[in-house]
């Protein structure tokens, strides 16, 4: 029997245990020896991947970027969720503030999510800058640094952003479109108080990162089995609903450049 493939994921919620137990069973049923390890934050997961303790890391875009930089681009990617492509950040504003466009944000109080959240902090801050709104000069930033280390996975900071706007504590803020769509679907947002005013260009979110390009071929069988997961199969659907996807897809790497540019532009690792 070949060695079990060890996959790492970050335990941002109790449901992560359920998800990975099901994924493990799914692979075992397909004849692939595998196991998983849960980490409390992406920084230790990145170290575990680079040290060879785990074979694959289920990474956020920021964690992937760290692996990419540390391996000087030698790392590889196996797969992503369909929802990891075309991810956007949504700028939302209080309906009473009169803000209807990005230019209207100038001089206003603006809420960001956790500082290591790609979708609710780094990328929106970068895009605002692209559109002429410098967070250090043109707005009063308010940061909800919750669950740092989990790269915004918990969504708690995005909840705070929306609630702060609804309460009138801030005028506008940034959230990921996935959180925004879920909040709208579940009725967690009162659209008489908070509305979307701008959607960012798309970018990529999570992926299964491997430390070497060569791992992509070595783990081809694992990837092929993963991609066969079918949302219209009731057993697979349970996993996919919990993990927030309708299909696993092959890597689409062009969408990661946004975060790379943002990190450099904001000098994220040095500020």
């Amino acid at each position: 029997m070949s060695k079990a493939i060890l996959v790492g994921a970050v335990a941002y919620d109790p449901k992560v245990v359920t998800i990975w137990e099901m994924i493990k069973e799914y692979f075992l049923a397909a004849g692939i020896p595998n196991d998983f390890v849960l980490f409390s934050n992406y920084e230790v997961q990145v170290e575990a991947l680079l040290s060879g303790f785990i074979d694959v890391a289920w990474n956020t875009n920021l964690a992937y970027l760290k692996v990419f930089r540390r391996t000087e681009g030698a790392c590889g990617v196996l797969a992503m969720r369909d929802t990891d492509v075309g991810f956007t950040s949504t700028i939302v504003a209080g309906t009473g503030t009169g803000i209807e466009s990005l230019q209207g944000l100038k001089g206003k109080r603006f809420a960001f999510g956790s500082r290591d959240s790609g979708q609710a902090a780094i990328i929106p801050e970068y895009f605002l800058k692209q559109y002429g709104i410098d967070s250090t000069k043109d707005i009063t930033p308010v940061r909800f640094d919750l669950d740092v280390g989990k790269h915004g996975d918990t969504g708690t900071s995005e909840v705070e952003v929306v609630n702060a706007i609804a309460r009138g504590d801030v005028d506008a803020g940034a959230v990921g479109d996935q959180y925004w769509a879920r909040a709208l679907s579940e009725g967690l947002v009162d659209s008489r108080k908070v509305k979307a005013i701008w959607t960012s260009p798309g970018y990529c979110h999570c992926n299964f990162t491997v430390p070497r390009k060569a791992d992509e071929a070595r783990l081809k069988n694992w990837t092929d089995v993963l991609l066969r997961m079918d949302y219209n199969n009731p057993a697979h659907r349970k996993i996919m609903d919990l993990e927030g996807l309708k299909a696993w897809i092959r890597p689409q790497m062009e969408g990661y450049s946004v975060l790379f540019e943002a990190v450099d532009e904001l000098d994220f690792f040095n500020r």
């Binding site: 956007t88 949504t90 479109d177 709208l184 659209s191 005013i197 949302y231 309708k246 299909a247």
Partner: protein
């Protein structure tokens, strides 16, 4: 619809000024439900935030957000969404639509509800259909239930809806429909006999409540007519227990003696682990015998309260017996070998009860006292004769019922003789 269709023929909805949380998402969701994957829905909107919200929502739900094809018409926004292939619900068949059950003379009779998928009676019910009403389409991946009675042959009854209708129409009120105000004082010995009989009837009716209640929980809901009928039987027995106990308490007497033999006999009914055997022992043999007992009580009742109680409960019991007769007759017709099983059930029960004494002696005596109108030496012989007549009648009618469901005369006589002396 193909890609060259004009905008005019495209499925389209007008969301006006609705925001996402005020119903826009619901409107779009229901419109997409009517489309096939790959079809495009057009949405007209006057709400500026709709653009952002719908785009985010589409990505989350794996629908394709198409770039707005043309300039918005007259200040309005136009969006196009291509339906994705991820199914919102996983079901193995199309849901019913367009069903119209027939209303006759203003009544929707339960016999007329065999419409659409509800009319499809499976040979074996699916455990995963669970508590969904027959005709509903159950989501794939639903849990398997563990109902014991899942075969049409055992659980389906063509006449169950008919009996159910009779039962619901025949319900009465034990507090109001018995002429309690007409109660009169009785001779003490006669009152004691009535109270003893009421105690016995109530304990028997508890078994007649618990036995179908136990089977309701084990019969697959697919055979809902059977389950609904049995639930009326449970309700009937509750009312019978109520009025028998009330009669024992209403006239200066009280609840009396319950014998070990009666308890053992009734326990053996509840212990049955086969639906048809349990139904046969309880309803054909037990409740069947009770019909003669209740008629006897009605005939010899010393006052209108006891008479009305016996009359009303007998009418209900008649329905239970007829339901079981119809049901078991059809089961035996389809599967004659089951007769051996029913015969074995009677033999086993007789053997299990062989160590216990016969009928509660106080009941035996109370029947004679009731028929004699008390302990007057002048009338006691008549009472004893009437009681002997009752026992003969019980046997005779049991034989008739057994023959009616398909037993030969000599088998029927043998089985009837082995029936518990406890009546039920």
């Amino acid at each position: 619809m193909n890609s060259t269709s004009s905008t005019a023929s495209r499925p389209s909805i007008d969301a006006k000024r609705l925001t996402a949380s005020e119903g826009l998402l619901l409107l779009v969701t229901r419109a997409l439900d009517r489309l096939k994957p790959g079809q495009v829905l057009e949405i007209l909107s006057d709400e500026p935030s709709a653009h952002h919200d719908l785009a985010a929502w589409c990505r989350l739900n794996a629908h394709k957000w198409l770039e707005t094809p043309a300039a918005p018409a007259a200040g309005r926004q136009v969006f196009h969404i291509e339906k994705g292939s991820a199914l919102r619900i996983l079901i193995p068949a199309e849901l019913d639509w367009g069903c119209h059950a027939e209303i006759k003379d203003g009544r929707f009779d339960t016999r007329d509800w065999l419409v659409g998928h509800a009319a499809e009676i499976r040979k074996t019910a699916l455990q995963s259909d669970g508590f969904a009403p027959r005709g509903a389409i159950v989501e794939e991946g639903s849990p398997d239930f563990t109902f014991d009675v899942v075969d049409r042959e055992l659980a389906w009854n063509e006449s169950a809806a008919d009996f159910y209708e009779q039962a619901t129409a025949g319900h009465w009120d034990g507090s109001r429909d018995i002429p309690w105000q007409k109660m009169t004082a009785l001779d003490a010995e006669l009152e004691r006999a009535v109270c003893q009989l009421m105690t016995f009837l109530a304990e028997n009716e508890f078994s007649a409540l618990y036995v179908p209640a136990k089977w309701i929980a084990r019969i697959h809901p697919h055979f809902s007519e059977t389950v609904l009928f049995l639930s009326t039987q449970v309700r009937d027995e509750a009312r019978h227990i109520e009025v028998f106990v009330k009669r024992a308490l209403v006239n200066g007497g009280g609840l009396q003696f319950s014998s070990a033999s009666t308890q053992a006999s009734l326990k053996s009914l509840l212990d049955q682990e086969d639906f048809i055997q349990a139904s046969f022992l309880l309803s054909v043999l037990g409740e069947g015998t009770f019909l003669d007992l209740l008629r006897f009580v009605e005939t010899h009742a010393p006052e209108p309260v006891t008479r009305e109680i016996a009359r009303r409960t007998r009418l209900d019991e008649t329905r239970h017996v007829h339901f079981a007769l119809t049901h078991i007759r059809s089961v035996l017709k389809a599967e004659p070998a089951l007769k051996t099983k029913l015969r074995a059930a009677v033999l086993n029960r007789a053997s299990a009860l062989s160590g216990v004494k016969g009928l509660n002696p106080l009941i035996d005596e109370s029947l004679a006292i009731l028929a004699a109108g008390g302990l007057s030496p002048d009338r006691l012989p008549e009472g004893l004769r009437a009681r002997a007549g009752l026992y003969a009648m019980m046997h005779e009618n049991r034989v008739k019922r057994l023959v009616a469901i398909g037993f030969a005369e000599h088998e029927a006589a043998e089985l009837s003789a082995m029936h518990t002396p406890n009546f039920m």
